[in-house]
Point group: D2
Chain length 340, copies 4
């Protein structure tokens, strides 16, 4: 089978993960990478990548490149995706495509017009725990879903400098949960009510953001979901989901470091959850990029497309509006005129 | 030590539990009971109660009675409690005192004026799981509480005839969770946002009620709670709580029938939660009534008083209003003029 | 239905439990008790027992007594059971009947001749965890049993003075596990290999006993069991069983104080097992005595009879012999001539 | 850092795993492989191995080879290891070196004389669950170890043809547990008592082997271990360990497929253990070979050496003798004259 030829743009933490995973896949070949930092390029060379270029434009100019992996800073995503589409390259882009709804819709139009594939990096969809929960739901074992509960807590807040340009908790962190809410029961969200607070770090509040939230989602068929978020869980990364339905309930739980149980006079003690996303989703990242490779080799639809990104963004924007106005906000209120 | 002399009014399911528990307590004596059904009176006689009377008024007329246990239908609670207070009897009354805020406030005024003790039957406060969680929170082991999550699902919906006069899901079922939300972190609720749906039985909807709900509470200090409810969990009574704070998180889980784990080719299987409140809270009912007896013998404050009932009712009324108007409602909006 | 009239001999810790439980049973009546200590007799009077007598003989002389509960010191059991049988009283006797095999066989002959019922207090058979495991095994859900694993560890060693007259670890403590091994799979033991050591307290070794043991049992059909014992588990009473069979495996686990899970930076922490037998088997004691009452009122066989006691004793004696001679010992080697 | 140059002999299931893992290690290079099957050689070529040779001798003749990985059939291990040692190559050899004690001792003498490193493939030592348990024990958190319990059950018996040449259950399967017993508490075994039965498949019995066993080990300091084995667990690979000590107890449990819990009317259901050693020990195989590479690059001792293999073999031979003679057997009885 023909190998797909990839170029990777951006070799930060997540770019390196995608690069390493691609290098292990029999039907993928990484023909070039770009990154402004020489050490990152050297990293790629050490892994056996022969061509390292200085600019994204040079990558796109390589005729042998079939697809680009965009792991550059968020504010370049829309532009780079658009350029790639126009260059006829398939695109895997880290989320979000952009924080501006109009911009995203423009990019999607270009992608559609150029007929390339665009996949967005909602990595949690590829996590075995969530996939298992989704499959149990889909199999009908819990009957009709009535309630979805998503817990998503980070082990620690990012720097305030990051938070300032992140789009805020809902577009930076909860957006994964909004996507999960749609994915896990395959329903569309109609209304959002968001409640948030600054309980961890006042500096986050001063930067105009919140660090703790409870968001209620109502699906178009009246079923409901609730998400709880915190930027800082003392015990590590907390990623759980529960779906309750007419015939039962299914939970996906955290992956712990190990299974040990220590019994002593103080109680029974066990290991913590895997510390953060790099550990918890290590396998999910592999599966994600493998699924992208497979979609290209088989010319099938990608598992997470631009529409998925658009919907999550709409929910996120609705959540922001809900928080500011302290009222439930319909997704239909969020359109191209909305500026937040 | 002097025994407290009790009279029990109403020998339905819950009245019999209180009677049985009182009969086992060294400092309590049941001197009389009343119930309209002869079989119930016979039950009491079989347990060794010597005096059974036809009316509540006859109970109150007995000079030796120190305290009454009111387990009669909800619409008699306010009136019976008032009469008991005027007769100088201490009162243990099943919740709610009344569904009308004005009426409750009137009763509490009478109780205060007559100086008798009034305890309300929020039995879950006496459950060992919730007490343990509360104690862990109170000890500071999770730091400052940020988020409270309460799951409360019944194994099956009551008859629609019951639902019609119940005050609705929020005043009948969620009111326990509103009390739990206040109890578990010792904070007052300031605002409520309630979302509900009819997902189990259309007849419930036709009766003007909902069967599934997600309720977000905001405490006065900005911390938040979320409650999820269902009238019908296929796997039985689901009663869990989770408190997340700055230094950690603590969960109280369901009590299962037993600890067995069966491993076979299909998976690992274990027992269901205890089926319903009679099983799950059997010990809590004992502790509850014991605490009432103790408060009387030691002349201390009762652990759940009229004010607790009033606050839960206010939250419940706010939740109803929130559901109807689809907006967050402040508790301060709920005053004596509100009629729902 | 006619009430069975009981007399309780011995009001130590376990005697009081049986007394309290009998007093709550509708078909049982405690007509008299005896104990050498006045405070114990007063305890019984406080519970409403009207007749307290000075000697066991006086108890037996009461014509209205249908059955005696023997909770006196072990060295009186055989004699008291024999006397009761001759007086035509049914007998519930705490284990063991005697440590001497001949003596036990003599008593059983007397009991058989007098046609009274004799039940032995192997309380663990009535524990809900073990009953559940047994029922799963019996239902065929694990297929043919191949391996039985019993863990039985006490939270602390008794005083050496007690150990000296206890018959040793195997007859005092493991004998419950020998009975469990027979009960859980309804098979008879054919051979025993016992390995023991003094790892907790040298004083136990000086008293001629061991404090830690692993005992392998072979059933007559070739299936096997293994028991591990310790006199001192730092984390409390450890009482587990596991049965492995051709179609699966089933485990019964410890009952914990509560279900709480505390997550903090050090790990996930939960409650300890219930501390000791009084806590773990509180409900089992009730069921046990209820089953005895039921056997008498319905004139059915008792659930644990003299033969069960005899078999456990034989296994215990074989274990002692095995330990001393460091070789597997057949149960058939243990007969009336054996003196240990 | 200089890369170590490896040759892999034997590309069966386990050989391929080692090859794949070596190819991902920065300090390892696979310069050649051998296998009698062309498809296996092609597999290696597809992974990028440039040199494939027809015989083991050709491998050894390559001067650039630093170390060989021996994954050929068991009956070649001793000979191949000896040849490698004489050729001055370091050796990683799958267990067992040989089933004959004399032969093993001869090989070890050759290895010692030639001063090459020899590591044996006791892969379970590198499993994160067992390492964690060992570390907890080593840290003193459970005090002095008193009892070790090892459960080791395969998901299905191998073909009888395999069993016939395997050396029997104790040398083929339990030998891993004997090594674990030594590893987990760092104590030497002094005595073995083995009990076994044919409960799964009569054909295994006809082949002169057993399929189910309980083995009691006594360490030189009097502490004890017990191992239970079955060739066929309906629920998959069961690999657990428990160490009980003076201050507490620690357990290592099975790794499950996922964390999902399905609650329905029949109970609470979860996933099975990972199916067999390839799944359970996937990471352990990586760590194992990485540790071998590290020992070579740093010129340190290997973590599992020839002496470890010798001791496990001695325990296994003692277990066989114990089973046949139905008596405890001292390890000291097992010397070069023993033929089983």
């Amino acid at each position: 089978m023909k190998k797909i030829k990839f170029a990777v743009a951006g070799l930060g933490r997540i770019g390196k993960i995608h690069l390493d995973n691609l290098l292990q896949m029999p039907h993928a070949e990484v023909v070039a990478v770009t990154d402004p930092i020489e050490a990152s390029l050297q990293y790629a060379r050490d892994q056996g990548v022969s061509l390292t270029v200085a600019t994204y434009e040079e990558l796109l100019a390589l005729p042998e490149v079939d697809a680009v992996i965009i792991c550059t800073p968020t504010d370049t995503h829309a532009n780079y995706a658009e350029l790639a589409a126009k260059a006829g390259k398939h695109i895997f882009c880290e989320k979000p495509l952009d924080l501006d709804l109009n911009r995203v819709m423009n990019v999607l139009q270009v992608v559609e017009a150029t007929n390339v594939k665009l996949m967005l990096g909602f990595n949690r969809r590829f996590d075995q725990e969530f996939k298992k929960v989704k499959n149990v739901v889909k199999s009908g074992q819990i009957g009709e879903p009535h309630l979805v509960k998503i817990t998503s807590r980070d082990p620690g807040a990012p720097p305030v400098s990051y938070i300032k340009q992140s789009g805020g908790l809902f577009l930076d962190m909860t957006i994964h949960d909004f996507d999960m809410a749609r994915f896990i029961v395959e329903k569309e969200v109609e209304e959002v009510y968001a409640k948030g607070a600054v309980l961890i770090d006042d500096a986050i509040g001063k930067a105009g953001d919140i660090d703790t939230a409870i968001v209620t989602l109502t699906y178009t068929d009246g079923t409901m979901a609730v998400i709880d978020n915190s930027r800082e869980a003392a015990y590590g990364y907390d990623q759980r989901v529960e779906v309750f339905g007419s015939k039962g309930m299914v939970q996906g739980n955290n992956n712990l470091h190990d299974t040990h149980k220590l019994h002593n006079k103080d109680g029974i003690h066990g290991a913590l959850p895997l510390h953060f996303f790099l550990e918890r989703y290590a396998q999910a990242y592999k599966t994600e990029i493998q699924d992208f490779v497979d979609a290209l080799t088989s010319n099938e639809n990608v598992p997470v497309d631009g529409e998925d990104g658009l919907q999550s963004l709409r929910i996120g924007l609705a959540a922001k509006k809900s928080l500011m106005e302290n009222r439930p906000v319909k997704i239909s209120e969020i359109n191209s005129e909305v500026t937040i």
